[in-house]
């Protein structure tokens, strides 16, 4: 499964499709963030991966 290193993220949903023939998994999480705060976002899976992806983007107030 997934572990997000930063405790203030809220994990909203996951897909975990690993099986005997390989597979894919993903999650989405959010947190409020202040300007100047650490943007750091990292995670780890209990499964090793051939390719691993991480993406962050901040939605700012209009």
């Amino acid at each position: 499964m997934f572990t997000i290193d930063q405790e203030d993220f809220i994990l909203h949903d996951t897909f975990w499709g690993l099986g005997p023939f390989g597979g894919d998994a993903g999650f989405v999480a959010t947190r409020p963030i202040s300007a100047g705060a650490d943007l750091d976002a990292s995670w780890r899976a209990t499964q090793g991966g051939n390719v691993v992806f991480a993406l962050v983007v901040t939605v700012t107030p209009s």
Binding site: P32, I33, G48, L55, V56, V57, T58, T60
Partner: protein
């Protein structure tokens, strides 16, 4: 032992005599008209929320001599006057130790009045350096409406996938952030705007046939799914709905890594340039393991 006070200046220290004391040990007060500046704003505004504001450190005492040596009294008053003008910090010494009031920028010429007994009452004001702006969190948080993940299995054909909106419907006026991690080609994104700024449907990054995309989709009228035309595709759609389609995005950052062992941490580092709601998606492909 009574408090003793020392005025620290760049050219030397002046020890005030034992009669000097402070009006209050914590200069400043609570000012209902304090100026502050909100995060992401340039203009100052008045605050009535009782932020503590800086104020002068006030010391008072008497300069007098039993021998009525006027010249010595004048010398002491002059020393105090000169030290106050150049004072950068004050050290308070007590039987328990010392406490330093730092960050001072001098003060006006001390107020001196006769005490009626041949001495002089002296009041010293020492002012803090200009205060730095106080930032408070934005009062306009980005409202999260829904977030979800769904998987699309492989198809070698060209087809349209309909990414379901988590929660059922994205209301008119909301904004959807759509992250895709998978393999293949996206040939039509309809209303999706690629956050990579390329003006096309190219991914942010590709590694070993796997790719990551990020889009923003302003919602003009209620929608329950987002169509994407794809080819030779499988992947995971990460969908986040926030209120307010006028919202913008910032600090897009990503990493796509090669072979990793179980428990290996993967991610990005940096500093947020803007306040808002940070969205974090992760994906993993693990062929032949399990």
């Amino acid at each position: 032992m009574a408090d003793r006070w020392t005025l620290v200046t760049p050219t030397g220290n002046v020890d005030l005599n034992a009669t000097f004391a402070a009006r209050t040990y914590q200069p400043g007060g609570v000012d209902a008209s304090a100026a502050l500046r909100r995060d992401d704003r340039r203009a100052y505004q008045r605050s009535g929320d009782g932020l503590r504001t800086p104020g002068p450190l006030v010391l008072y005492g008497i300069v007098a001599r039993d021998d009525q040596d006027v010249a010595a009294i004048v010398d002491e008053l002059n020393d105090i006057r000169d030290a106050v003008a150049a004072c950068t910090s004050v050290v308070r010494t007590t039987s328990a130790g010392t406490y330093t009031y730092s960050g001072l920028s001098g003060g006006p010429t001390p107020e001196v009045t006769p005490d009626g007994l041949g001495g002089w009452r002296v009041v010293i004001e020492l002012w803090p350096q200009r205060a730095a702006a106080t930032f408070v969190p934005t009062t306009e948080p980005v409202e999260l409406l829904a977030a979800g993940v769904e998987f699309f299995s492989f198809s070698s054909d060209s087809r349209t996938i309909n990414v379901a909106v988590p929660g059922g419907t994205a209301p008119a006026g909301s904004l959807i952030i759509l992250g895709i991690y998978g393999s293949g080609t996206i040939t039509n994104g309809y209303d999706a705007v690629n956050l990579n700024g390329a003006g096309n449907l190219s991914p942010l990054a590709t590694r070993s046939g796997q790719a990551g995309w990020a889009f923003r989709v302003p919602v003009a009228s209620d929608v329950s799914s987002l169509p994407l035309d794809v080819s030779s595709f499988y992947g995971i759609a990460h969908t986040v709905v926030v209120a307010g389609q006028g919202n913008n995005t910032a600090d897009l950052s990503y990493v796509i890594a090669g072979t990793t062992g179980s428990g290996t941490s993967v991610g990005i580092t940096g500093t947020a340039t803007k306040a808002g709601l940070q969205i974090f998606i992760g994906g993993i492909t693990s062929f032949g393991i399990g």
